[in-house]
Amino acid sequence: MQEAMISKAKQLLADGTVTRVIGWKKGEFAYDITPAIFESSEEIDRDFVYDDFTSTNVSKYLVKESKKEGKILAFLKPCDTYSLNQLTKEHRVDRDNIYVVGIPSDGKLDIEKIKAKGITGITGVERDGETLKISTVYGDETMSVADVMSNKCISCKSKKHVTYDELIGEDGEVITSDRFDMVEKLENMTSEERYNFWRGELSKCIRCNACRNVCPACTCENCVFNNPDSGVENKAAADSFEENMFHIIRAFHVAGRCTDCGECSRVCPQNIPLHLLNRKFIKDINSLYGEYQAGADTTTKAPLNDYTTEDCEASIVHERGVE
């Protein structure tokens, strides 16, 4: 795949279709991949990489990059295309200035999961079908790929590209996933159990803002939490209330716009399952206002910008589920 992408990028650069390429760049180790902009085929030959660790969603960079001079080539995985489509819908990117090449993704790996198995001193990772060979300074290890698949890929919602100018390989299908299982499990707990669960998770938050800054739906020029005039500006949660507040409001602000790309949970240094908050909103929207997938198209109205006179009353919250 990587070779096909490199030759495609070089071809599009050479024939002048694009002036820049956004992709991923090799790091120090086998897994520390950084998103990068390439401007020449030399740079691409030297650093371009597409492998099991290129999980970063590069759509958000296109907000800035698409406004620069010259067309940019973006290699997007199926889930990334949803983000781009949503950004296009919200007029945050200049879609005409982006050349999207859809690339398939058979699931990315999570280095944290590998390390959590006690493996350290990693010098190389090699994938052979469904097994993973890891060489370390302490000797070699093998494990199953499924064991260390990143969470966002385990609950993949679609292998289909919703926007592209060109595809490499075959397009996939929207798939039924079990992504709402955990939300449902929590819904079936008692209110106190839920409270304890979330207190345990959210109290880990260090307010690094990685979830917000990586989120393709969070593209405000100035976030309420950065704006001293908003009255809620804060840099660190000085009280448990502020931990709750930040995550509730953030999830609410992206409700109906979140494509469930899973980046928030991937980047959280404290491994807080933040995607569950977003999924809760998605699940509620689906069940109360009809099935809706943000980013699936660029025309439909977002559920929170819309209403029907027959909508349910807020009291539905009090009537259903577990107290």
């Binding site: 939300v183 929590l186 819904e187 209110s191 106190e192 159990e193 839920r194 409270y195 304890n196 669960f197 979330w198 207190r199 309420v224 009255g231 809620v232 000085a238 009280d239 448990s240 209330f241 502020e242 709750n244 507040m245 509730i248 409001i249 999830a251 609410f252 409700a255 908050l277 809760k280 909103f281 509620d284 929207i285 109360l288 206002y289 559920p303 929170l304 819309d306 209403y307 029907t308 006179t309 909508d311 349910c312 009353e313 807020a314 009291s315 539905i316 919250v317 009090h318 589920g321 107290e323």
Partner: protein, 148 residues
Amino acid sequence: MQVNDNKEFQPLIVAFCCNWCSYAGADLSGTNRLNYPTNVKIIRVPCSCRVNPMFILRAFQRGADGVILCGCHPGDCHYTSGNYFTRRRMTLLFSMLDFLGIERDRTRVEWVSAAEGAKFAATMNEFTEAVKKLGPNRRLEDLRCRKQ
């Protein structure tokens, strides 16, 4: 102002009332000499859809034990459709608060027209009772704001 019996817990209720219907409804309940608890603090808003989720959370932070949002009946919004948006927003927000384990009876949306003074008083009495049963808000409070 506040008559606080030390033995019995008196919840602090914040009621966001829309200017056109519910606030007038509250007024009417007053002129009709209907009783509702003194611990209900009314905040007048131009339309129920002016209420941002942050308002609700901030009320809890500052010591509210329950927050109720009152607006015109669906279809009667002074601005045609404001309360329809409110309805979706608050449904989702309350559902999220419930998901985080905040007691669901601390929040409510009620439609009160300018003519429904009696409904306003009854709603406030009922809501206050419901919150009183739950006790003080502990799950969504800011410890720094707790009165010493």
